[in-house]
Symmetry: C2
């Protein structure tokens, strides 16, 4: 089905808040086989909301609206529905009862504010009747319009549990199927990837290849749309397999994997830290970190994964030279001789944290993230990595471009990619 | 001026990439006094892009378009302009020359791809002629339409340096001014804040108060729009000051600050970690951290600030019990007796890192972020914080709700808020 997403709120149109809901909804709906032709963001103006609603209903098979359903005075979505779709709000007694029943410890004033949530457009169907969560479905001109709260976890839950199953029932068997895979790539620029695999798009008009820089990664999506083979097949012999969607998809996927090789670190939902965690777990290796310029970023990414304590022991954020000596045993003379941002210090940091933590593998990062601290010899963006195992210690020098945030992010990703390559036995020579 | 933002790319409508450009552009344009009435996100379809462009040009004073200007085959913005606005792409020799001059080490094939960037719509004015950056201005039906690249740092630079100054010239003196401030609040729910200050909106129809949960914070925006006092002023005596926009704004700001007190941690662009960093700097205090369940998140936030090495020494990510003993000197018996998630261990972690790092102040976090590891006595969301100074050590127990990511985020913010309150001498009693 063709859908449209509308996000509501002055906090979005004034740039105060980043709209993550539309992206989440688009990703889930795309994954369920729908196509989103447009996403609109509208301020808290009933007239503008109403215009966007009417336009979306007229041209799409379904509409998802997020935000503006709350109890505060700037929540105006229902007012817009009343105006634009001629559906005045009416009291839903069962919703009111649910609000009054919930022992959330509100004062009488707060309770009166919350009671606004029981007034919904005429004809609305409450999406989650058993729980106190805003969100309803309105079928207008035969088009399902889902109104979801702007609070991300409520929106996500309702979308996954109510909206997508409901749409699957709605569409019956008429859905146009796609096969899709996203390859996640680190260490090659978008334009080079395009050069390596761009010609594959010519295999069929049903094939689409997209390139998306998601700093510091590049994501490549391969999509094959179901349908008859577009070019008339040559007279099939007994041994020629028919180029079905599945065959075509598998053939292109194999060609992409061959062209990009090790630079592909993951697929679809996989993340760099997730892949590293999985490799550590399956190889029964334990890891510790010594982070200087990344200041805890890498540890933060690794510990975001549930169960990471099985392979990640922790580490030291040795932001000052003093802590490099005290917590990692880096020699004072070594620091003086080479400077904190140097190969020998990166190695000493990795060895220090590996020995003291008693782990199999340790990685260190020391560099100049800027904006200050650079020199002619070691400009901003100079970053050394150390990798210590039971057998040996290596160091790696990189020079990154960008601002402080970008240098820290690309340094953290490079560290994880070094670990990934080491665990796969495919480390590039320092 | 009234503006509209259009973001282009299948990576956005399929949810693979989060659109941060629109939010950045909206924030900057709002700050410059413009009002954004809508933000649209469109896939890589020339027809849809064209329709959105024509609609925006018809109803807005200016339009900002981001994305789809690159060299790869899915960059179709110029094609849409040719179709919708009847402006075919023509070769801009000076752009071509600039591309060929740049010694970026491309192969001949890559260079041919890049040369696509020299074909721009008829009548386009290149925004940054001295550098190799996509982006142009097209004046169509007397409406300025700015086409900017989708790469965030290029877009941001062109918006700040070219678009906003150009719009300021365009609008002359007709801009409608607003005074605005955003208060950032931690530790109070949105509905309670609404209850405390919501009545202030009644002061004048020119006043708008908005509430935006930005997990785990709540942001409150106070906006006063320029204009004549809406209610006829009473006959002014010699001592009555006129309720100008500035007076009205200041009066309301003072009332908000009085009502919310210490819960306001910052204003406008301020962040919790930035406020803590500033307090540490002005009080000449040094800080170290011992993070368990937050796993480096707090250190990562503090070191994101340039110059943080002046007050932040670093710390230990003691994710395993072993590292709590080895790097922080937490007693083995203490861990056995109370468990790693306990007040005594939080205190020992804070004391351990403070003494070993030789700093003035240390903070520790140990808790259960989930989804596993909870018990009846210590459910998921149980988090202890330790705060060690030269004089004393305190511990604090919190129970947070949410998923793993939310618990880690709110624990990190709580830790920073405890530091903020300690440095202000306004610590709540544990």
């Amino acid at each position: 089905m063709i859908g449209e997403i509308i996000a509501i709120g002055n906090e979005l149109t004034s740039g105060r808040v980043l709209d993550t809901n539309s992206r989440f909804a688009a990703g889930q709906l795309f994954g369920a086989g729908h196509e989103i032709i447009a996403m609109a963001t509208i301020g808290d103006s009933p007239e503008e909301i109403g215009r966007a609603l009417k336009r979306a209903i007229a041209r799409s098979d379904f509409v998802v609206v997020t935000g503006g359903l709350g109890a505060t005075s700037d929540d105006l979505t229902n007012e817009a529905v009343a105006l634009a779709l001629k559906r005045p709000s009416v009291l839903f007694p069962e919703v009111l009862e649910k609000i009054r029943r919930c022992p959330a410890g509100q004062s009488a004033t707060e309770m009166r504010l919350l009671e606004k949530l029981a007034w919904l457009p005429d004809g609305a169907e409450v999406l989650s009747p058993e729980r106190r969560m805003a969100g309803y479905l309105l079928i207008h001109d035969h088009t399902p319009v889902f109104f979801l709260p702007g609070v991300p976890h409520e929106m996500q839950e309702l979308l996954a549990e109510r909206v997508i199953p409901r749409l699957a029932l709605w569409q019956g068997e008429s859905v146009r199927r796609v096969r899709q895979r996203v390859y996640k790539i680190f260490g090659r620029p978008e334009i080079e990837i395009n050069r390596l695999v761009g010609h594959l798009e010519k295999a069929s008009p049903r094939v689409r290849i997209g390139y998306y820089p998601v700093f510091p990664e590049v994501h490549l999506s391969l999509t094959v749309i179901d349908g008859p083979p577009a070019t008339p097949a040559p007279a099939p012999s007994a041994t020629t397999s028919i180029d079905t969607t599945a065959n075509l998809f598998d053939r292109l996927a194999a060609q992409i994997e061959a062209a990009l090789g090790d630079c592909i670190f993951g697929r679809d939902e996989e993340t760099l830290e997730g892949v590293v965690g999985c490799l550590l777990r399956t190889r029964a290796q334990t890891l510790a970190l010594a982070e200087s310029c990344t200041g805890g970023l890498i540890a933060g990414k690794l510990t975001a994964l549930p169960g990471s304590s099985a392979y990640f022991s922790g580490g030291v954020v040795s932001y000052s030279n003093d802590l490099k000596e005290k917590f990692l045993g880096v020699g004072h003379q070594l620091l003086l001789a080479h400077g904190a941002v140097s190969g020998p210090v990166a190695r000493a940091m990795a060895e220090g944290v590996r020995e003291r933590a008693g782990v199999d593998l340790a990685l260190s990062v020391t560099g100049i993230a800027g904006p200050g601290g650079g020199s002619a010899e070691k400009p901003v963006g100079t970053v050394y990595f150390g990798l210590a195992t039971l057998e040996r210690t290596l160091d790696f020098l990189y020079r990154f471009a960008g601002d402080r945030r970008q240098i820290r992010e690309i340094a953290a990703a490079t560290a994880l990619d070094l670990l990934r390559r080491h665990l796969l036995g495919k480390l590039l020579q320092p």
